[in-house]
């Protein structure tokens, strides 16, 4: 398929995933356009993390397809998703606590030294530290003392910010964030939200999982509601109330209203 302006950045269709008898994801459908922030909301156990893990390649779905720019994505491969330009911030942050901040930011994408040393696999620690520091400055992250500190020595909030910074530095097209502000204080939350705005302005697609509904209403262009492993509604945030979103999440709406919303 040739990518046109109408081709969405991401199209996920009919994704399904069971863990034993548990049908974590029954029907995952999602469209994300360029310059768009799509929030996925739902109660605990609604299948949000499973859904985005299928898109990010961390979990191989039992059924379904994912297209990026109209091209089918190899499912169940983190590397294929990364190559295609998808970067993900997982809830567990995917950090190696014993490695430094700089090493974590460049984990699996290490900067090699120039010339023959690089061919031999030698990495350029200095360049990695410099680029990591520059990235922190660029994102306005000032609370982090030193990129040579180990990730394990950081506070939960600092680690989260580093995880977001890493995803930003890697994303080619689409960035997926699973609860990126859950552990953050007000100031760091704002940094992450500003970063999400900036990514959208630069033409990225953003998928955001969050329980923080007021913020979701504030930042998202579209809200996708999941319940019991299914996408049950899709609403525009404009004019929406938190109360209405919660009722969709909990299934307190009538079926007619739901379909009207989607």
């Amino acid at each position: 398929m040739i990518a046109t302006d109408e081709t969405p950045l991401l199209r996920a269709r009919g994704l399904k995933k069971s863990f034993g008898h548990l049908e974590a994801l029954r029907e995952g459908n999602l469209i994300v356009n360029r310059r768009e922030v799509v929030a996925i909301v739902g109660d605990n156990g609604a299948g949000k993390s499973t859904f985005i893990s299928c898109i990010a390649g961390a979990i191989k779905p039992d059924a379904g397809e994912v297209f990026l720019n109209g091209n089918p994505l190899e499912l169940g491969s983190i590397h294929a998703a990364m190559r295609a330009g998808i970067a993900t911030v997982y809830q567990d942050l995917a950090m190696a606590p014993d490695l430094s901040v700089a090493e974590n930011i460049f984990l699996s994408t290490e900067i090699r030294r120039r010339g023959i040393a690089g061919r031999l696999g030698l990495i350029d620690h200095k360049a990695m530290r410099a680029r990591a520091s520059a990235l922190m400055d660029e994102l306005g992250i000032t609370t982090l003392g030193d990129v040579t500190a180990t990730a394990g020595s950081l506070s939960g909030g600092q680690r989260q910010v580093v995880a977001v910074a890493r995803a930003v530095s890697r994303a080619g097209e689409l960035i997926i964030l699973d609860e990126p502000t859950a552990a953050l204080g007000a100031k760091q939350s704002q940094i992450v939200l500003d970063t999400i705005h900036a990514m959208r302005e630069r033409g990225f697609g953003v998928v955001l999982i969050s329980h923080d509904l007021p913020r979701v209403l504030d930042i998202a262009d579209r809200i996708v509601v999941m319940r019991f492993g299914r996408v049950v509604a899709e609403v525009a945030p404009k004019g929406q109330t938190v109360r209405h979103i919660v009722s969709l999440m909990l299934g307190e709406q009538s079926a007619a209203e739901e379909s009207a919303g989607s």
């Binding site: 567990d92 190696a96 031999l120 696999g121 990495i123 007000a186 329980h211 007021p214 109360r243």
Partner: protein, 355 residues
């Protein structure tokens, strides 16, 4: 709904005043040492080795520091050092390899058998070279087997290598029918095993070169970072894009290969195999790795620390022999040193984390 408004600021202001870690010194030497914590562990271990040597020197009115004695310690350390370096990688990746001692014996047997078989039909040098290669390949094969079993069958490395430990030593006994291989060409000892290069025993020199390359791989290459990342958080590393399985196979391959080379060094030393002489070799190497600052739980490893810590057991053994204390006490001493080293390390870590 005030979900966002009631959120408290979980980041107190003092986080920006967190002390920065020790300054980054440059230069190739400090680069090989790795993080500042490991750097100081290596320093303490080096001090301990020197202190032990000085104590024995005092007790033997200087004889301990004689060149032949130091050379003997060096020859004793070579094989152990190779095992320790391989184990540092395996432990750093969060695994364990109990089979390195058995692999050493199997590789020595293969190496010796091949050398003996070939030395009748040509030059001894040729036969020894092929024997050495076969020994190293045997080790590599055992390491590869461990790595594949751990990653493909998803069996815990403790169990896998407990199994291959038995397989390795059993195969060595089957091949030799339990008796050591004799009839190796004497040049294997004269020209290599007990030979020196500027007073440095050749086997030690070889072990030092290989180990320093290992230190470079751990601290300076992507593979080294991925090894520690895997040991630090396997899921996290996988999600960050690290090829965890490939890395895991790689560390076992390295440990096996190093053990294979150590097996060859073993036959050059005495001109024969020592099938029943390595029951505690793996534990000695493991002790050295841990004393040297490598975490048993992965994520943190020091090749240089492991290299230096191998001298603790060889210095203790040589010293005890010279002052007339039974060598049995060496095992007791190493056991005590191991426990003290891990305890000191834990105290230092706890102190570092609370400041």
């Amino acid at each position: 709904m005030t979900l966002s408004n009631v959120k408290t600021d979980s980041e107190p202001a003092q986080e920006s005043s967190r002390p920065k870690p020790a300054e980054q010194r440059s230069g190739p030497w400090s680069a090989l040492l790795g993080s500042s914590a490991l750097r100081s562990t290596t320093f303490y271990v080096a001090c301990a080795v020197i202190a032990l040597a000085l104590i024995f020197a005092l007790l033997t009115s200087g004889n301990f520091l004689s060149t032949p004695n130091l050379q003997s310690i060096g020859r004793n350390s070579a094989g152990l050092m190779l095992l320790a370096v391989g184990l540092a990688f395996v432990l750093g990746a969060g695994h364990i390899d109990l089979s390195v001692g058995s692999t050493l014996v199997l590789a020595s047997v293969v190496s010796a058998k091949v050398t003996v078989a070939l030395s009748g039909s040509g030059g001894a040098g040729w036969a020894i070279t092929i024997g050495a290669i076969c020994g190293v390949l045997t080790g590599a094969g055992m390491g590869l087997l461990n790595g594949v079993l751990v990653t493909r069958l998803r069996i815990n490395s403790f169990v896998v290598t407990l199994g291959t430990m038995g397989v390795g030593i059993g195969l060595a006994q089957v091949i030799t029918n339990g008796s050591n291989v004799i009839g190796l060409p004497t040049v294997i000892q004269r020209n290599f095993g007990v030979a020196n290069w500027f007073s440095i025993p050749l086997p030690l020199l070889l072990a030092l070169v290989v180990s320093l390359i290992g230190a470079g791989v751990l601290t300076q290459t992507a593979f080294g970072r991925h090894t520690l990342a895997t040991g630090s958080s396997e899921t996290g590393s996988r999600r960050a894009g690290v090829k965890v399985d490939r890395t895991t196979i790689g560390v076992f391959l390295m440990a096996g290969t190093a053990a294979g080379l150590a097996g060859f060094l073993d036959i050059t030393r005495f001109g024969t195999t020592a099938i029943s002489g390595h029951e505690t070799t793996m534990l000695q190497a493991l002790s050295a790795v841990i004393i040297g600052g490598t975490s048993l739980f992965g994520g943190r490893a020091s090749v240089l620390g492991a290299m230096i810590a191998t001298f603790i057991s060889t210095v203790l053994l040589a010293g005890f022999v010279m002052i007339g204390v039974s060598s049995f006490y060496q095992r007791i001493a190493i056991g005590v040193v191991l426990i003290i080293a891990v305890w000191v390390d834990r105290v230092r870590q706890a102190r570092a984390n609370t400041t």
